[in-house]
């Protein structure tokens, strides 16, 4: 029984079909890893699934229920981490996290501290984001993702700008999300270090 399934996805980009009849199904506790050459449509697919981009046609089912990708209940259970991490340069990391998470749910100090520690941001979370490096910003964004409590993660190149430890962290965080019963769709070429049974591969630009 798939947690999320897509049928007959049709997306135009300019004059050509980027997706024509794409179908995919992701069961709970699985990670769909999307790969493909640049321009194959990895970001577009994630944005369509997040309801940020209107496709020409899409049959989306979430937990066996046909929904619109702009369904508020679906959005409440979804977290999207894109190229832009939605961080304000003039707020501290902590303020950014409190705002991003607070839009969705109430956030306790203990949960916040635990997430900061999990992503290794204790040393710089209280600094203004404009003074942070790109990798440090990524870690702040990952803390927001953890705290969102969402069951479906849509990650677009989550490991960008991260050091070796950070890249390993991405794999661990995804593993923990799956263990909690969540679902992950990630566009990344990096080896996530997941068990073969937990990972579903999708290569775009090859007959889709």
């Amino acid at each position: 029984m798939p947690e999320l399934s897509v049928k007959n996805l049709l997306v135009f980009r300019g004059e050509r079909h980027l997706f024509r009849g794409l179908a995919l199904a992701v069961p709970a506790q699985r990670c769909l890893q999307i790969t493909g050459v640049n321009g194959a449509g990895k970001t577009t697919l994630l944005r369509v699934l997040a309801g940020l981009l209107e496709p020409e046609h899409l049959e989306l089912r979430w937990r066996e229920r046909a929904i619109s990708p702009r369904d508020a209940g679906y959005h409440g259970e979804l977290a999207y981490l894109g190229h832009d991490a939605a961080l304000k340069a003039d707020l501290t990391g902590l303020e950014n996290i409190r705002f991003a998470v607070g839009l969705r749910s109430t956030l306790g100090p203990a949960a916040l501290a635990a997430a900061i520690a999990r992503v290794g941001a204790q040393k710089f979370a209280d600094r203004l984001v404009r003074t942070l490096s790109a990798g440090q910003k990524r870690r702040i964004a990952l803390a927001s993702l953890l705290l969102s409590g969402s069951s479906l993660w849509l990650l677009d190149e989550p490991a960008t700008n991260l050091d070796a430890a950070g890249q390993a962290l991405i794999g661990e965080l995804i593993g923990e999300q799956l263990a909690r019963g969540g679902t992950v769709i990630a566009a990344t070429h990096q080896d996530l270090g997941l068990a073969a049974t937990a990972r579903i591969a999708l290569e775009l630009g090859s007959g889709t």
């Binding site: 304000k88 707020l91 969705r104 109430t106 409590g149 909690r180």
Partner: protein, 236 residues
Amino acid sequence: MNSAANPPHLVRTGALAAALKVLQRDLRLAVRRPSQLLQPLAFFAVVSLLFPLGYTPELDKLRAIAPGVLWVGALLASMLALDSLFREDAADGTLEQFLICGQPLVGLVAAKTLAHWLLTGLPLTLMAPLLGIALGVPVAAMPGILSSLALGSVTLSLIGAVGAGLTLGVRRGGVLLSLLTLPLAVPVLVFGARATELAIAGESLTGPLYLLAALAVLGATLAPLAAAAAVRIGVE
């Protein structure tokens, strides 16, 4: 499966609470960057104070043009800060998160518009009496100027939010934004300047004031919906 959907610490934020968070964040950001706050005020002051220098220092003549000067100055000054209303949030991905956070976008957009008014419309209104004195406006007219500008600037922020949403997808949309919003702001300008004129003459300004209030109510009901729809398209 349900443990992931509803961890124990997860209590959903209400729509109003989410809107308040947006308002609070925008105000905090403005405090950290006071130059953006001061620019429209400085513009308004300089434009208004150029008239005694460029036209005539005679207070009687200045008093006759004071309504027009104050209102055109306030209108243009409030336009200055409009372009950045949604642009920054669009550039750093915040608007995308607004769209998918499960909260009604209308509330978040309305909160941003309210923040814009609190940071430009309200300070401009409060500054107008000071500039009025330089233009020979009698002190008795100040309550009328304050109330008409307060009502008018609310409508200007609301109209501006629709324009800012519509020009989100346009690179350097500043000029287009002015072309879109200025014609819509004409009724506010007409009734606002008329109210100010009556206030200076010492007559009753209830008529134009009611019309300004009606425009503000119309704007407050329709503009957030239109702005939210525009933002949704702009983010795509």
